[in-house]
């Protein structure tokens, strides 16, 4: 489903060149729950951003769901992200001026879908994460765990094949973190959604199918 070959990412400034990723090869089959671990600054989030087509590699190829991606800033890539990918962020990134249901339906806004259908799909996604009774609340009225569950609902509302989660339990306590992992695990097992998760937490990583370790931009395991 996801194949990375010789992926390198170098950040250049006027005086310094930093290699964030060095010649990474990675294959993620369909339906796998993969976690990526490593110390801070090892390139985990950079790798996730490249897989999620949010950033372009300096060199190498990437193939996602059978499509080789070449232009990262194009409308076609934006459409591809909208249809095939879902994102969960450590800081949730909910829009504070929209209520829960409007936040969840956000990916569907860019699919030219009727409002009624959007609302139905958003309600269904909220139900799957156990927050159907909070749809009119605003993010400021939710706990951290609830916010992350809303973010998960937003990530899955468009029924993407792949979910990319960047430290989804990083800002949560262990109880809430377990709740989030339980939802992700259910998505992976029942809906066969491919999930790639960046984490610092060994305990969370053990709940996944496979672990990839990075050190200084290089894959070590």
């Amino acid at each position: 489903m996801i194949t990375l070959k010789n992926i390198t990412k170098i950040y250049k400034t006027k005086t310094i060149e930093t290699t964030a990723l060095n010649d990474i090869d990675l294959h993620v089959p369909k339906g796998e729950f993969l976690s990526i671990m490593g110390p801070s600054g090892c390139g985990k989030s950079t790798l996730l951003n490249i897989i999620g087509l949010l950033d372009a590699p300096s060199s190498g190829t990437i193939e996602v769901d059978g499509q080789q991606v070449k232009k990262y800033a194009s409308r076609a890539t934006a459409k591809f992200r909208n249809e095939k990918l879902g994102f969960i962020f450590q800081s949730f990134h909910l829009i504070p001026d929209l209520n829960v249901i409007d936040n969840v339906e956000l990916p569907l806004l860019y699919r030219n879908m009727p409002s009624k259908k959007r609302k139905e799909m958003a309600a269904s996604a909220l139900e799957s994460v156990g927050l159907a009774n909070r749809k009119s609340h605003f993010p400021s009225q939710l706990s951290g765990g609830q916010k992350q569950r809303v973010a998960i609902a937003r990530a899955i509302v468009g029924k993407p094949n792949i979910i990319l989660a960047d430290e989804p339990t990083g800002n949560l306590d262990s109880v809430m973190g377990d709740e989030v992992m339980e939802i992700l695990g259910r998505l992976n097992k029942e809906d066969k959604t491919t999930i790639i998760m960046v984490t610092h937490d060994e305990r969370m990583a053990k709940k996944t199918d496979r672990l990839v370790r990075l050190y200084d931009g290089t894959q070590v395991a």
Partner: protein, 446 residues
Amino acid sequence: MITNYIKLAIRGMGRRKFFTFISLFGISFTLGILMVNLSFLQSELGANKPLSNKDDFVFMSHLALKRTHFDTIPNIDTTFDQGIAVYDTTFEYKKTGSSMTQSNISHDLIKTFFSNLPSTENLTAFNPESINDVYINGIKLSIQTMYTDANYWKMFDHSFIEGRSFNETDVEISAPVAVISSKTALNYFGVSENVIDKEIEIGNNSYKIIGVFKHVGKFIPFVSPDLVLPYAVEPESPYSNYYNGSYRAMFQKKSDVSVKKMKEDILTAAATIPIDHPDNQYGYNELEVIPASYMESFAQNIYYDKDPEKSLRTAKWIVYSLFLFFLLLPTLNLINLNISRILDRSSEIGVRKAFGAHQGNIIFQFIIENIVQTFIGGVLGLALAIIIINILNKGGFLGSAELNLYPKFFIYSFLATLFFGILSGLLPAWRMSKLHIVKALKNAKL
């Protein structure tokens, strides 16, 4: 999608109250002032009664008598020939100065020399500058009185509430009749109609009311007098002579004649006025009149140039520039405000782009939000315009001018504000839409 953006705009405005206040104040103030100004221009310059025919009018308000002074100047050159001074005197006849007198025009001069010009449909002479004070129940009432002829009523199409205007016969027999505005009727009699055949006391004379016209309120006195009397009843002025008086002339051209031709005919007629009348006591040797179209004469109040056409051109530039400046200044301010406001939302932009929004979606979103803000500002601006116009009308700050809020000017002003509102949102939206997704997400505030 648009509903989503509108909700976002309204909620965002509520959350960032200070920015919202500044933005809405700028928009509503701009729109309000724009509408008041447009209403003023429409009120004064629009083809509304009694100025439905104004585009056919040529105005002649003054007559100038000029004299160029010549003198013989001796030039003495001194040379020395074998020690003896030789004086050589030459005489030069040259212009040493000029003098001029300018005033309004004698009524008889207007009638004698400017009636029946080939391009004229109608001609009226009027003196609008008399103010008569009367006391009603101990309260002073200043009545702006105009003396004119029967043709005035053919050219200025006032709406009559009751009665009639005075005609040629009334003027010929110096009938003591008066036509008043509805405002004067209300102020003098306590009612704005049913005053026909009542008497109005002006100075030591009584005049019978024969007509009441609807008060319109204009800045220019001859368009909105309080009281109109036949010129024949005007007391003789010691300051009038063959040339000078207190009258202006308004010509109405024929429909198939240009304003330029009308002006040429007026100048041709003026050239036939003799300069050597005994009333020319100071030996003036030149007579000048400067006819101007209605718009040109109005423009001379904004920018005076002896050439009325130049006045109108310059006045138009001044007005357009002021309007543009007035719209651009808050626009530039709003651009600044919008940039800082949108920077706060960089993480939202990152999230939207991550989930499939392209550059056009982001720009469209911010334009919609700006339109919502501009619309709310527009409604506030309309309210502000209504308040300002009411204050100006009731306070009499524009003389007898009365402003009205015309719906079309709300639409024009709103469209202009909308255009500049969108413009002020476009640049910040374009900048933010180009933001790299990862950088935008990194700018998030926890």
